[in-house]
């Protein structure tokens, strides 16, 4: 780590950047503005917390921009056991989150074309293509991504990460920690959990070597507790969807979930979610719903369609439909009870073995049914995501079972979470309109 880089970091991040972002947030909080094309006739004004979300995310990428040479940098998968790296002082970057930012900013086609030109097939996940394209070209909407000193991939979300991170390891010539989580058919066996725990143990010396110091187990415990606190708050936040009208739609959740994914283990993340919960409770007490005239409530399955969030919120909101809950945002909260700072590695092994994507399709079906009942929903939209095969497999059966076994109307919507070339708006609009008419008949 160099003194010049540290000075640059302090100047750009601490002296200039952070105060500016804070000032920007205060301005936005003091004079809240509704985006010019926001359909106020359909949707309630955006949540006030948005100013803080923007500050947190901007600061995260600003820190990343100047991190190289000042702090060790790790790139990790979204379901990666990040607490060990946080405790060692790593700056942690989530390429999937960066991919989502690229999706929202609609630069995915430009960036992923760089990867496609280098020979990566369009059949590969659009997050992976966007990341590799960004690595190859330096293109990003967030300024600059720091180079990794360490990579950590966990197979609990998909097998693509295995190959994707090997590409990154070769490109950057840095160590890759691979955490292999055995698939959970009904319940994880003791030896499977022991196997994951052993891998976590083995990852520590590798990460310590890159960080240049040893792991402080008390710090790890603190971080596990902070992760748990934030995840529990997130679970409460999405649980507020039980109220009629729902104070927050999934389209808001998709935006405000960024900190729980990429900033777990930090006090500011806990504070952020406590503030969001408070705002939702205020809105509930005033009877303010995300959709002004909520008449029907739906569940969303799979990742968001990042480049069409507002369109979908308005298209459905126009018919008084609020998409209240999703299996995707739920996934970031449902494992919170498993974390235990008294048994750091054991509880991490369990937490990171049980994500919804590492479990059988029956588990997802049961989750959907449970959520439909809990949130009193009228139907389900299953986004068949061309990029995310593990999330999309089984959806046709899940859809049919929801309809035939449980009498829950369900729609399969074909798209891609990041790549608009696999999305046909006319056809999506036509399916949504037909589904809405069916719900209303």
């Amino acid at each position: 780590m160099g003194i010049n880089d540290s000075l640059k970091y302090y100047w750009n991040v601490k002296v200039v950047g952070q105060p500016f972002l804070q000032w920007q947030r205060w301005q936005a909080e003091r004079h809240p503005k509704i985006p010019s094309r926001w359909r106020t006739d359909i949707l309630s004004p955006p949540l006030r917390i948005g100013a803080r979300t923007k500050e947190l995310i901007s600061r995260h990428y600003l820190e990343g921009r100047y991190a190289n040479g000042h702090r060790p940098v790790a790139w990790v998968t979204s379901g990666g056991p990040v607490e060990i790296l946080q405790a060692l002082g790593f700056y942690v970057l989530y390429p999937e989150n960066h991919g989502a930012v690229c999706g929202v900013r609609r630069v995915v086609v430009d960036i992923s074309t760089e990867a496609e030109n280098a020979g990566y097939s369009t059949d590969i996940c659009s997050y992976a293509r966007t990341d590799i394209g960004s690595v190859l070209s330096g293109k990003t909407p967030v300024g600059r991504l720091p180079k990794p000193d360490l990579l950590l991939a966990c197979t609990n979300i998909c097998q693509t990460v295995l190959h994707w991170y090997r590409v990154l390891a070769k490109h950057f010539n840095v160590p890759l920690i691979l955490i292999d989580t055995p698939f959970v058919y009904t319940e994880a066996s003791d030896h499977a959990l022991e196997y994951v725990k052993k891998q976590l143990e083995n990852s520590i010396p590798v990460a310590e070597q890159v960080a240049g110091h040893t792991l402080d187990y008390r710090r790890l415990q603190e971080i596990i507790q902070l992760s748990k606190n934030a995840a529990e708050l997130w679970l409460e936040i999405i649980g507020r969807g039980r109220h009629h009208p729902a104070p927050m739609s999934v389209f808001d959740q998709f935006i405000h979930m960024a900190p729980i994914v990429e900033m777990r283990g930090k006090q500011e993340t806990v504070d952020f979610y406590a503030a969001l919960l408070k705002e939702l409770d205020e809105n509930i007490s005033k009877g303010i719903g995300a959709v002004r005239n909520e008449r029907k409530r739906l569940l969303w399955d799979n990742l968001p369609i990042w480049y069409r969030l507002r369109y979908l919120a308005e298209n459905l909101g126009e018919h008084g439909i609020c998409v209240v809950a999703s299996t995707y945002t739920n996934a970031w909260g449902e494992l919170a009870p498993l974390m235990n700072k008294e048994k750091p590695l054991e509880s991490m092994a369990k937490t990171y073995t049980y994500p919804i994507l590492n479990q059988g399709t029956k588990y997802k079906l049961d989750t959907m049914k449970r959520m439909v009942e809990k949130f009193q929903l009228d139907g389900v939209i299953l986004h068949s995501d061309r990029s995310c095969k593990p999330y999309s497999i089984g959806q046709i059966d899940q859809r049919n079972l929801l309809i035939q076994e449980y009498g829950i109307p369900a729609l399969l919507l074909e798209a891609d979470h990041d790549d608009p070339r696999a999305y046909a708006e006319e056809q999506v609009a036509s399916r949504l309109a037909s589904f809405v008419e069916m719900l209303e008949s």
């Binding site: 049919n400 109307p409 037909s434 008419e437």
Partner: protein, 259 residues
Amino acid sequence: MDIVALGIDVGSTTVKMVAINAAEEIVWDHLEAVDPRVEKQVDSFLNKLREETNSLAGIPLIATGYGRNLVHQAVKKVTEITCHAKGVYRQLGHGGTLVDIGGQDSKAIVIGDQGQVIDFAMNDKCAAGTGRFLENTAARMRVPISEMGAVALSATGEVTISSTCTVFAESEIISMLAHGVEVEPILLGLHRSLIKRVVAMVRSVGLVTPLLLSGGVVKNPAIRKVIEDEINEQVFLPEHPQLMGAYGAALLALNLPTS
């Protein structure tokens, strides 16, 4: 003509309009190839109707089909799923699984006992399994679209078209023709390829018998024959399969709450 309601179906290939009387019977209908200037075309349809009747003042019009949002003369826009289900149920008097093969997309609609839509599926983002698939390949073989079905049914043999992609199927056909394969067995294979896609869609929503057909493509006799072969069920057609979207729209217009 005692016209009480109008329905218009602006599809990707044709525009269909019907007028119904209080007994919900079709008393007038008109069909033309679609013009991209939809609003103008709808005006010309209305003018044609005005020549045959006294006045259309106060008669509600509902629009359906891909171009429905371009019909500014309509009081309401409703999707083809709802309209086809409504029209076919009214004509045949029972529910079932309705397959509507249109120019740009195909749909399988499960209709309940009361005529309500219970479930539906549409073809994915691809022309395979739609009328466009036949149209493209018919043009390549220089067989008029209206004669395709009869020519296919006159075949004594059949060849398998392995490509489901419209563009690749076209190259496959060119190659077959170049190798001296007759037109008739190719055409029959082509129909089977399309229907296999449609049947997969029907299976995805779960076939609730009887199987009903609507849409312009089902005027083709080979479509009916091959679908019966593939699904092993008798199919039922309304009298005017191509008008069912517009008819359903008119029925909905008739029942609009009066303001």
